[in-house]
């Protein structure tokens, strides 16, 4: 353990970036190698035989923020541009159409309510079990993520193949098509890889609205570069 008063190791470079929130807001997220930082952070902790879950938590949280910054940077230009204060277009605007009033029996009955209650109560009991037995942050999650990030190149190839396959079928490529048979964790992994691919110019990502579908445009040359690089 560090002596009282002296800084813990993780507040020193290179890891300090993960613990300095003000700096985090200002940096260029692409200049941070998160995989490297997390891996060495864990090794250092192991070496010193010092396990600090709070520090791990903060490090994980900061990594997530950096990923978010990356995705924001990539997706921002595709959001609808604010219109410059141009003159409003004068056009005939018809009067509003008013809907006729019709009663409609809904499919929601007292039975639906009771079934829903049953499910809500079940998830409540599950919740209490979960809280009692499971630790908040399973320590193995960090090495898993790091190991996975080290496989970026092979994952990029894999996803490129999927995209090519969809292209050959003449389909519009969307995020949901790529993750069609994946579980939640896998979907997150694919999303991160797509961010890397976008950063390298292999694909362009765009979105019509927050939380809407992510559309993927495949840039041919980028891929050839990427495959020749790897």
């Amino acid at each position: 353990m560090d002596k009282a008063g002296s800084k813990p190791f993780y507040l020193q470079p290179p890891w300090d970036i993960l613990f300095d929130f003000q700096r985090l807001q200002k940096i260029n997220p692409w200049s941070v190698d998160i995989a490297f930082l997390l891996l060495t952070f864990l090794e250092e902790m192991e070496r010193r035989a010092m396990v600090d879950f709070r520090a791990s938590g903060v490090a994980l949280d900061s990594s997530a923020s950096i990923y978010l910054l990356k995705s924001n940077l990539l997706l921002k230009p595709e959001e609808p541009q604010p219109q410059p204060c141009s003159k409003p277009i004068i056009d005939f605007i018809p009067p509003p159409l008013a809907l006729p009033l019709r009663y409609e029996l809904t499919t929601t009955t007292i039975q639906s309510l009771l079934e829903a209650l049953n499910e809500a109560l079940q998830s409540e009991s599950l919740l209490s079990v979960r809280v009692a037995q499971k630790p908040i942050l399973p320590p193995e999650i960090i090495p898993t993520i790091s190991a996975y990030l080290l496989e970026i190149e092979s994952r990029i190839k894999e996803i490129t193949q999927k995209i090519r396959f969809l292209l050959e079928k003449g389909e519009i490529i969307t995020f949901s098509k790529i993750i069609r048979e994946s579980d939640r964790n896998e979907a997150i992994r694919v999303f991160i890889i797509l961010l890397f691919m976008a950063q390298r110019g292999i694909v362009t990502l765009w979105q019509h609205e927050d939380f809407g579908e992510i559309y993927i445009t495949f840039n041919g040359e980028g891929v050839e570069n990427a495959s020749s690089n790897s």
Binding site: E104, T108, T109, I110, Q111, L113, L114, A116, L117
Partner: protein, 227 residues
């Protein structure tokens, strides 16, 4: 036979005024009856006299009560698949006669709420009065959106309590599902049907006997409370 020349004697003028008044009164009566009918049709749930008065623009609950009862009779007289009923507490409801519900049930295609908000609603109904914090803990972060939606639909109320909110279901909720408006009694009713039906399928709407059972629970509960 009426005289062809105008009769301007005071008795005759008086009679004419009276006749006009009567016609006006009948028109007003019919108009109010149709507004009550319109209200019951659109609401699809029981409405109390206060609501009916406000819709019909009348201050006399007695008058509206009388008109609504005539509407009930009118529907009995008509050859129709719909019925207007007077429930306890002088509430009125328009509904499909039960012998038709099986055959047309499949035409109902849209739910009042999707699964998520409905679960949140049922949880609130069962646990009420309950804090927003507790609901979010059990139902997850999405519950914030559900709670907003439920409040907008008028199914629950949110009452500020420090930094948190206390959530309760509304009378509208109770009426929609045919439950008691008293929270205590409603919870007993929910428990009772919950236990009784277990995995069985419940009918689309409350049948006559269930409605009776519900009001028995309600009656015994309020008697117990007043003792």
């Amino acid at each position: 036979m009426p005289a062809l020349t105008a009769d301007l004697s005071p008795t005759s003028i008086n009679a004419k005024v009276q006749r006009k008044e009567r016609i006006k009164g009948r028109r007003d009566f019919e108009e109010k009856m149709m507004i009550i009918e319109a209200a019951l049709y659109v609401a699809g749930r029981p409405l109390d006299l206060k609501t009916l008065c406000s819709i019909a623009g009348s201050r006399s609950e007695k008058k509206i009560h009388r008109i609504a009862r005539i509407l009930v009779e009118e529907y009995k007289r008509r050859n129709t698949a719909l019925e207007v009923l007077e429930l306890e507490d002088h509430r009125f409801v328009m509904q499909l006669k039960s012998n038709y519900s099986d055959r047309v049930r499949r035409l109902a295609i849209r739910p009042l709420l999707t699964a998520g908000p409905l679960r949140t609603l049922s949880y609130i109904a069962y646990k009420q009065p309950v804090t927003q914090k507790q609901v979010v803990e059990v139902r997850g972060k999405h519950a914030y959106q559900h709670i907003r939606e439920l409040a907008e639909l008028g199914l629950i109320t949110r009452e500020r309590n420090g930094k948190d909110f206390i959530l309760r279901t509304t009378d509208y909720f109770a009426d929609y599902f045919g439950l008691s408006r008293s929270i205590q009694i409603m919870k007993r009713q929910l428990e009772r049907i919950f236990k009784k039906h277990g995995e069985e399928t419940l009918p689309l709407s409350l049948e006559e006997d269930e409605r009776r059972e519900m009001s028995e629970i309600e009656k015994s509960a309020s008697e117990g409370a007043s003792k």
